[in-house]
């Protein structure tokens, strides 16, 4: 097995809520191997999104650390973490997060342009073509359906050629049929590119399509199941609880 692309070590996040500290994450530890597809599942308020934010270096943990491709995030400042994200990560969000002032093409181009790619337009076009939106490149987000917007977001996430794709409830804002189409697209592209996928969802059907499921409850990791093969049965693995 290759070295882990992502490692979380005793991650905790506490916020001040009124007079009392509120623990959102409590000592979460796990590793993700390159090429894995991992779903983080849990009920609302279980800390899924907070965990994703910490793993992407978008937020700082109260305790513990995250290693992204061997880099400890605690040792990096805000801008260095941004540079790491640029090199390693792609994102797909629940609410698509397309910029309304940019066309589909320009939305896909933006991360490439920020990274200084000279062929941003060409690559963006290729990716929009691969998600089936070759004819909609000049459309603004408001002219696209929800499913189409999420496909633009997926093209944007893959266009940067990330090692690790992070998706936050990617089908959460879509109806079942459209959600299934978008999920199909995402898993297909992921397979074709051998990208590591980290998916946060409360949709168990979607989670079952991943090779591994991490369950969160009350800020703790309460389950780590591995499927024998993708889309198939899941094998239970007990998780070592921190003392």
């Amino acid at each position: 097995m290759s070295s882990p692309i992502l490692r979380a070590e005793a991650l905790s996040k506490t916020v001040q809520s009124g007079d009392d500290p509120l623990t959102i994450l409590d000592g979460v530890t796990f590793e993700v191997a390159a090429g894995d597809t991992v779903a983080i599942v849990g009920a609302s308020g279980s800390g899924k999104t907070t965990l994703l934010g910490l793993l992407a270096g978008l937020d700082r943990p109260t305790a513990g650390d995250v290693w992204l491709d061997g880099h400890a995030l605690s040792g990096e400042d805000e801008d260095e973490r941004a540079a790491l994200r640029q090199r390693l990560l792609g994102f797909v969000f629940q609410s698509f997060q397309l910029l309304p002032a940019l066309t589909a093409l320009e939305n896909v181009m933006l991360p490439l342009e920020l990274a200084g790619a000279d062929d941003a337009a060409q690559r963006a076009r290729t990716w929009l073509d691969r998600v089936g939106l070759a004819r909609r490149v000049r459309h603004y987000p408001r002219q696209l359906s929800g499913g189409e917007q999420q496909r633009v977001a997926i093209a944007r996430a893959f266009a940067g050629d990330p090692k690790l794709l992070m998706a936050d409830e990617p089908t959460g804002n879509l109806d079942n049929a459209t959600g299934a189409e978008v999920a199909d697209l995402m898993f297909r592209l992921n397979r074709e590119h051998g990208t590591t996928l980290l998916l946060v969802t409360h949709d168990l059907a979607l989670a079952r399509r991943c090779g591994r499921r991490l369950s969160l409850a009350g800020g703790r990791l309460v389950g780590d199941e591995r499927a024998s093969r993708e889309g198939g049965g899941v094998r239970d693995t007990p998780v070592a609880r921190p003392a």
Binding site: T49, L52, G53, A56, L58, D59, E78, D79, A82, A83, L84, R85, Q86, R87, F91, F93, S95, Q97, L99, P100, A101, L102, T103, E106, L110, P111, E113, L114, A115, G116, Y140, P141, R142, G146, G160, D168
Partner: protein, 837 residues
């Protein structure tokens, strides 16, 4: 390089998507209005000075009691300035074609002029026999002279008559109606004869002892060339030589011009304020709308510095482009104004200069960065986590800091525009107080309204909206109030001020001065005139005296740096006495003697301006030399004198007593009906020494200047009105997104379109009425402060300000709000939520 290219690309995309319209419109209009006011004020000011210089016949007049060195004219010509020499002297003039013993000799002001005279203004000749007066094409040819109407009447001559002037004889070529002439502080006396300079030697009149005044008139193509020459000349002037422009010569013209400059400056100030508010609102909306873009960019790996650079670059490019466009609009705008107005300006307008273009351009950029920089820095610091969690608070700049830079920028711009500390301070203080009051009032009202019994879902929701965004509401009310206040100031208050200013030159202002009335003639002259005009004509005593000592120290005029002060100190004062404070005078320090008081112990009263020029303070003892006798008195009061009332005014006033036994003559000022030309004859027949001076012409000229200035100012203010409307629009647009989102959510919850609309209209009505209330209070206060402290004209509160402020504010804001938000209730809720959520 990459950042630059990407920044430009991002800017282009924003532009295409329509994201920049509000901000660009605000910037262009801001720069355009500041620039138009600037260009126009600059040119009108130049024109006004020229206009006033028509009275002088040139931009500058150099005077000497001996012939002036040739170097003065040579240097002027070398500098590209136009010059023409003039010699002015008094001579007895009589008809040459009647026997010498039968001809009346009349003391005449003779003005011998050279080619090119006058450099400014024109000489008007009588048309005669039903023809209209016409403008002379040149000067009298050698051997000919032009007698003015008074001289012609008194000599009983017409064109073709021959006159003896000194040892020569000259033919009357034309009858003169008017010509540019501003006598020094004493009025020009007697009838006038204009002749050619070449004929002067033949008169043989310029003997030692004849008090001729040798002049050089100078006209410059621009202020800079004139200033250069003025500086050079300053070092060259010898004793007995002086340079003057029209401002030095006529206090009422100076005062009129200074007021005009203040009014134009005020217009520019208002433009700056409106620009600031519109830009602040538009910039903050832009930044709010780009919060997500900033978060995304950080999430995709842009560093904080790069994010800041990208946005700052966009603002810079945007600012430069919009400001340049604004300058172009300003050039067009002022050309349009000038086109409509040029016929009013006899002197023509000087060409536009670069100054106002640079100034308005810099104003736009400074305002943009003053208001955009703190939020811009905050924007670059948006937590990237916002891409996952929309509920994260927006990055906030510490409240004070956010607006401190902008406020400092505005204060700086105002200080720079106002050029006069007091007007600037009043404006800044007014605006600061207004914002504070608006915020407090909004807060108070919201708290108060929440306690009232609440009826109807629309009102409740509208009110809830106001109180939910208490801070934002207060700010918005402040901004709206500022815009409304500017509109009120520009329309009602300005109209009132202009009217008061015009009324300050009353139609019954005196047009005749009677001087040189001897004490034993005064009673008779007073009785004769009072009978003719049916009202009492007051005569004031006048004693000539020279200031020789201050507090026992001999007056050393060389210590006055100011040429005007030196001149004032060197010449004789007209002293007078009175037992009561004359009309148009206002005591600003000390106490004026009570009616009926007399005697030296009451001291004397000095005009405030001259006291300042001479460095004399309340309590100083002044000694005057009056016909060889010394009169000493303590300054017990200082007065402000309203010079443009055209009344008889004196720099130095005494109580009855100390001057009683001094050589005195009397002076009177009164209004003779324009139709009554015969009033003087019986008086002069009885008392031939009495001189009458017709100031009607001068007054008409000053009145003409006032009229032109007021029309110019109306044009300029009209332009700033557009800025006020833009502020209203920007203030409504600022919260548009939020309102659209609220409306969408409410519609989802089942609110009807009507409910939504009435809730929004209710909120806007409240907002507008409250802003209008604050604006009316602000406009009234500023109007009072300006008229009382700056323009020194009486202030009358206008109740319409309140009506238009509150009523107009509520309706205008409700209408603008309805326009801006009517789409929010039309669009399907999901589309709005998707777009903005």
């Amino acid at each position: 390089m990459r950042t630059l290219a990407l920044g430009l690309r991002m800017l282009r995309r924003d532009w295409r998507a329509g994201e920049l319209r509000v901000l660009v419109a605000a910037l262009v209009l801001a720069v355009a209005s500041v620039g138009t006011v600037g260009f126009f004020a600059d040119r009108v000011k130049g024109a006004l000075t020229r206009q006033a210089n028509l009275l002088l016949g040139g931009d500058l007049m150099i005077t000497g009691d001996r012939p002036l060195p040739a170097a003065f004219a040579e240097r002027a010509r070398a500098d590209g300035l136009a010059t023409t020499p003039v010699i002015r002297f008094n001579s007895m003039v009589q008809r040459a074609d009647v026997p010498a013993d039968g001809a009346a000799a009349i003391l005449t002001d003779v003005k011998a002029v050279g080619a090119g005279y006058p450099l400014r203004g024109s000489v008007t000749l009588v048309g005669g026999e039903g023809r209209e007066d016409r403008v002379a094409a040149g000067i009298p040819p050698p051997g000919a002279a032009w007698a003015d109407v008074r001289l012609a009447q008194r000599l009983g001559i017409g064109k073709g008559a021959r006159l003896s002037v000194g040892e020569t004889t000259i033919v009357v070529g034309e009858i003169l109606r008017s010509e540019p002439e501003v006598a020094g502080v004493v009025f020009s006396l007697g009838p006038k004869l204009l002749m050619n300079l070449d004929d002067v030697p033949a008169t043989n009149l310029l003997q030692p002892g004849n008090r001729a005044s040798h002049r050089l008139l100078v006209a410059a193509p621009g202020e800079a060339a004139l200033e250069r020459y003025r500086r050079w000349l300053g070092g060259e002037l010898k004793a007995g030589q002086r340079m003057e422009n029209v401002r030095d010569l006529r206090p009422e013209v100076r005062q009129t011009l200074e007021r005009a400059e203040k009014f134009l400056g005020l217009a520019a100030l208002v433009a700056v304020l409106l620009a600031a508010v519109a830009i602040a609102l538009a910039a903050s909306r832009y930044l709010r709308r780009h919060l997500d873009a900033a978060a995304m960019m950080r999430c995709f790996g842009a560093s904080r510095g790069r994010t800041l650079a990208l946005f700052a670059l966009q603002f810079l490019v945007l600012g430069v482009a919009a400001c340049a466009a604004g300058v172009l609009v300003a050039l067009g705008g002022q050309a349009l104004l000038v086109g409509t107005l040029s016929s009013l300006m006899d002197a023509g307008l000087p060409a536009p200069t670069w100054g106002p273009a640079l100034a308005s351009f810099a104003t736009g950029l400074l305002l943009l960065f003053g208001f955009a920089l703190p939020p811009l820095v905050a924007l670059s610091g948006v937590p990237p986590l916002r891409v996952l969690r929309r509920d994260l608070p927006r990055p906030k700049v510490a409240g004070v800091l956010a607006y401190a830079l902008g406020a400092a920028t505005v204060a700086m711009l105002i200080a720079w525009q106002a050029r006069e500390a007091q007007a600037g301070a009043i404006m800044v203080g007014g605006v600061g107080a207004l914002l504070l009051v608006a915020a407090l009032a909004a807060w108070g009202l919201i708290v108060l309204l929440k306690r009232l019994p609440q009826r109807g879902v629309s009102w409740r929701f509208g009110l809830a909206n106001l109180s939910r965004r208490r801070f934002a509401s207060s700010l918005q009310i402040g901004a709206l109030a500022l815009g409304l206040m500017a509109l009120l100031l520009l329309t009602l208050v300005r109209g009132d001020l202009m009217q008061a200013w015009r009324a300050n030159l009353p139609p019954d202002a005196p047009n005749q001065f009677l001087v040189n009335v001897l004490p034993d003639q005064a009673a008779d002259a007073r009785a004769t005139l009072s009978q003719r005009f049916g009202r009492d004509i007051a005569f004031s005593p006048m004693v000539r005296g020279r200031l020789v000592e201050v507090n026992g120290q001999a007056l050393d005029t060389t210590r006055f740096a100011d040429a005007r002060a030196r001149r004032l100190a060197e010449r004789e004062f007209n002293l007078s006495w009175t037992d009561a404070l004359p009309g148009g005078n206002r005591v600003v320090a000390g106490r004026f003697w009570p009616p009926g008081a007399r005697g030296a112990e009451q001291g004397m009263s000095l005009e405030d301006g001259i006291a300042e020029s001479l460095g004399v303070r309340l309590g100083d003892a002044l000694t005057f030399d009056v016909a060889g006798a010394r009169v000493t008195a303590k300054v017990t009061s200082l007065r402000k004198v309203d010079w443009d009332s055209f009344r008889v005014n004196f720099f130095a006033l005494f109580p009855p007593g100390p001057l009683d036994d001094k050589p005195v003559s009397y002076i009177a000022a009164f209004r003779a009906p324009d139709t009554d030309h015969g009033w003087l004859a019986p008086l002069v027949q009885k008392h031939p020494n009495i001189l009458a001076i017709d100031v009607g012409e001068l007054m008409r000229q000053v009145q003409g200047i006032v009229d032109r200035v007021s029309r110019a100012i109306e044009f300029v203010f009209l332009f700033t009105l557009a800025g006020g409307l833009l502020v209203l629009q920007a203030a409504v647009a600022a919260t548009q997104d939020e309102r659209r989102f609220d409306a969408a959510v409410l519609r989802t919850l089942g609110a009807s379109r009507r409910q939504l609309q009435s809730a929004q209209v209710a909120e806007f009505l409240l907002l507008g009425a409250l802003a209008g209330l604050v604006a009316a209070a602000g406009a009234t206060a500023i109007g009072w402060a300006l008229s009382d402290r700056v323009f020194r004209i009486p202030f009358q509160a206008n109740p319409l300000v309140w009506l238009y402020g509150v009523g107009g504010g509520a309706l205008a804001v409700a209408f603008a709000g309805w326009l801006g938000t009517r789409n929010t209730v039309r669009q399907p809720p999901l589309a709005v939520i998707r777009q903005l959520g």
